[in-house]
């Protein structure tokens, strides 16, 4: 089913806020989801999975103590680190949803070409990054794009693999998405929307009175 970027962004942002994700990280997650969708990767499964893994009392801001980080928290930090050259994430970071990184890095202008890879379930995946952000994705097979846990992240990965998603495909996908919206799984959309609804206020007679137009006598 086709969705607009705006719909996807709204649903992801509010699903994140409903899971107590800090606003700035919720905004970044929404942009990451749109970035992934625009290069032809359905972001809904990894987004829903990452959100559902968050506990009610997730210890935001304690990344240095964590062994397995939430990509929702680590993604923006990693993206910023690659742009500035300042290392903040601990070495050998392990992420719960590494594929989300591709979304965070879509538009990060990395000054020098970088390959960022991970291994999971015996398969490798490498994101190729450059001045315009995500350039291409290399890997053994598409399944590596749907893993939910990376064994370890490696910077400047030396792994040489065939292109899973080529630079040309990414360029074409972005153009198509801009013109026609993005194709997403309808079932996964409802999984996401279930989380989004948690962030919406329950309606009552009292709350209806706090909306515009309340108590209007429409004599016009």
């Amino acid at each position: 089913m086709k969705f607009s970027h705006n719909e996807l962004k709204f649903a992801v942002r509010w699903a994140a806020l409903g899971r107590h994700v800090p606003v700035g990280l919720a905004d970044d997650l929404a942009k990451a989801a749109v970035g992934l969708a625009a290069v032809g990767i359905d972001p809904l499964k990894p987004v829903v999975s990452a959100l559902e893994r968050l506990g009610q009392h997730h210890p935001w801001g304690s990344m240095s103590d964590s062994f397995r980080l939430s990509a929702i928290e680590a993604g923006p930090v990693l993206s910023d680190s690659l742009v500035t050259g300042e290392t903040v994430l601990p070495l050998n970071t392990c992420l719960d949803n590494p594929v989300l990184l591709a979304g965070y890095l879509c538009h990060s202008p990395v000054p020098q070409s970088v390959k960022l890879g991970w291994r999971s379930r015996g398969s490798d995946c490498v994101l190729v990054l450059g001045e315009s952000g995500l350039i291409s994705i290399l890997g053994d097979d598409l399944e590596t794009l749907h893993v939910e846990t990376a064994e370890v992240l490696s910077y400047n990965s030396a792994m040489e693999m065939p292109a899973l998603i080529s630079a040309e495909h990414i360029k074409q996908s972005r153009s198509t998405a801009r013109e026609q919206g993005v194709e997403l799984s309808e079932a996964d959309w409802y999984s996401l929307w279930r989380l989004t609804r948690q962030a919406l206020s329950k309606s009552s007679e009292e709350s209806r009175l706090s909306g515009a137009g309340a108590s209007l006598i429409d004599s016009d």
């Binding site: 607009s4 800090p22 700035g24 905004d27 013109e179 309606s203 709350s207 909306g211 515009a212």
Partner: protein, 563 residues
């Protein structure tokens, strides 16, 4: 190049009282659109009319902009008067619309016939740029239809009292419900600037409302029926009911709002910097002022606060006219700067903001290009993770001094909370459930001042030599606030310099500010939460776009009141 000292600072411009006194200008979106229609000779046609004797059916209007076609599909429905409501949560309307990208094929019309009347419950595609709906003004619509059917023109006083046959109750663009994202048209010369697709939609809805009432009159009156006289037809705009949704929009589009305000402020500064003016320019200014005075006299509202403000505005405009009529007022150097300073000192806020609009009127060739392109591309968005906190602190001092005026320990300053209702995502503004507690999972994050105040406390306990990146890794709760602060440096007009969660906050101030940029007139607040306005009242029809008066159509007065 505009002298910097003539630019009004953001801390003055972006105050709620002044924002709530804003007026349309030459740069407003509706005026930019009609000007472009005229300059580029857009052509209009009605390729499909299918209405029954009661006015139900479908009409298609098509526009050729030279490079592209766009079409309005208008569906007219029967509606139980008891269900006629301006609220977002309504589920039935007199008419529903889509702006279609191109000329629709039969299959598109059939698809939309099944979806457009359902509005939010329908599903749309990237071929649809805008989704909208409207209700008739029952008392005026029926009055006009009945009189025309009997061969008479409608009562002009009644026309002036309401001002429109239909009012839109929602105009959705930007990817809502599957419609095209704004990015699809962002690079287009015809509709690429912000809200131009929405403004074109409303322009065409106005044509539909007029065609519909004349159709019904013909059905009722047969050969006895007449059409509306052109001056009366032109004086009918399209109503609009605008509610709380505008406020989150404005707060969430810092870069875009900066572009709008910056353009207006640069236009004003340009005019203030003009050393001398011609006789013709003085005549234009005086003519527009005279029309404004009439228009303000005709501006009747029930809201007590706005009614008093309109009364004060009328007195102020008389004082301004008296001031301008004094000898040699325009013979000095920088005469418009002198008028601006006089107005700032002697007139109320409504009149001051109207003077901003008036002073630009004779100088289209100097200022109109400033309003041609509003486009908040992602590249405009600023995020500098390498910035040291010392620098961030400087930015807070420079752009958020107003935060220091607010005591956030006072529960009245954090007394309200914005939420989206699960009922059609209607924004609502209610009391904060837990005093002094922010960031509940359902709150729309519009707590800018409070957030900055808390960030300042956190910075006091932090190493200011560290980078924003490192600080945000440890304190992700401040990431969005720091993002805003960094954007404020390059987009200083994008931030409301006041607290919009305070118990005393009136959302109508923000609504009016936004609507003034659209180009509307006759603000008619119905409560603190929403307002009715008139759009395109006096605007030229397609065959009038190149008329000499067309460029200043917003100063429309009741027909014959200027004679």
């Amino acid at each position: 190049m505009v002298p910097g000292n003539l630019l009004r600072p953001p801390d003055v411009v972006m105050r709620l009282a002044r924002m709530g006194s804003a007026f349309q200008t030459r740069l407003s979106f509706m005026r930019s659109l009609t000007r472009r229609m005229a300059i580029e000779s857009w052509t209009f046609s009605t390729p499909h009319v299918e209405l029954d004797s009661e006015g139900r059916g479908c009409v298609i209007y098509s526009v050729c902009t030279g490079s592209r076609y766009y079409s309005l599909l208008a569906f007219s429905h029967p509606l139980d008067p008891m269900k006629r409501s301006d609220r977002v949560i309504a589920d039935a309307w007199d008419a529903t619309f889509n702006l279609f990208d191109g000329i629709p094929l039969d299959k598109d019309v059939q698809r939309l016939r099944g979806n457009t009347p359902r509005q939010e419950a329908g599903r749309f595609t990237s071929s649809e740029l805008v989704l909208a709906r409207a209700n008739i003004s029952e008392r005026l619509f029926n009055h006009v239809a009945n009189n025309l059917a009997e061969g008479r023109q409608p009562d002009i006083e009644m026309i002036a009292d309401v001002g429109y046959l239909m009012r839109t109750t929602a105009v959705y663009g930007g990817g809502k419900f599957g419609c095209a994202d704004w990015e699809k048209i962002a690079d287009r010369a015809d509709l690429g600037s912000a809200f131009q697709a929405e403004m074109l939609t409303v322009y065409l809805i106005r044509l539909f409302s007029l065609d519909l009432v004349e159709h019904i009159a013909r059905q009722k009156g047969g050969v006895s029926a007449v059409t509306l006289d052109r001056p009366i037809r032109r004086f009918l705009g399209i109503g609009n009911a605008t509610g709380l949704g505008m406020a989150p929009f404005l707060m969430n589009h810092q870069v875009l709002v900066h572009q709008w305000v910056s353009a207006r402020e640069h236009a004003l500064a340009t005019v203030r910097g003009i050393q001398s003016v011609t006789v013709a320019q003085v005549e234009t200014l005086n003519e527009v002022l005279e029309k404004c005075r009439v228009q303000v006299r005709e501006w009747q509202v029930n809201d007590k606060i706005q009614s008093e403000r309109v009364g004060k505005l009328s007195v102020d405009l008389a004082a301004l006219a008296y001031h301008l009529a004094a000898g040699n007022r325009f013979d000095v150097s920088f005469p418009l700067e002198a008028i601006f300073l006089w107005a700032s000192e002697h007139l109320g806020l409504e009149a001051q903001e109207l003077v901003v609009s008036l002073l630009m009127e004779p100088f289209g060739e100097l200022v109109d290009n400033l309003g041609e392109r509003f486009n908040a591309a992602p590249a405009e968005d600023v995020w500098e993770p390498a910035m040291p906190l010392t620098q961030l602190k400087i930015l807070i001092d420079r752009h958020y001094g107003w935060v220091n005026e607010i005591n956030f320990q006072d529960s009245a300053e954090t007394g309200r909370q914005w939420v989206y209702s699960e009922e059609k995502l209607e924004p609502r503004l209610g009391p904060r459930p837990y005093e002094g507690i922010a960031d509940s999972e359902t709150e729309i994050p519009l707590t800018v001042g409070w957030d900055v105040a808390r960030l300042l406390v956190a910075l006091q306990m932090s190493d200011l030599e560290q980078s924003v990146l490192r600080f945000c890794a440890l304190h992700p709760w401040f990431r969005h606030t720091i993002h805003r602060i960094q954007n404020a440096e390059s987009h200083p007009y994008g931030e409301v310099a006041e607290n919009i969660i305070a118990a005393k906050f009136r959302p109508t101030d923000i609504l009016r500010f936004n609507l003034a940029f659209f180009g509307v007139s006759k603000f008619d607040p119905k409560s603190d939460l929403w307002t009715r306005v008139n759009m395109y009242q006096g605007a030229p029809f397609p065959d009038e776009l190149n008329s000499p008066w067309a460029d200043q159509w917003t100063f429309a007065c009741k027909p014959a009141s200027l004679e």
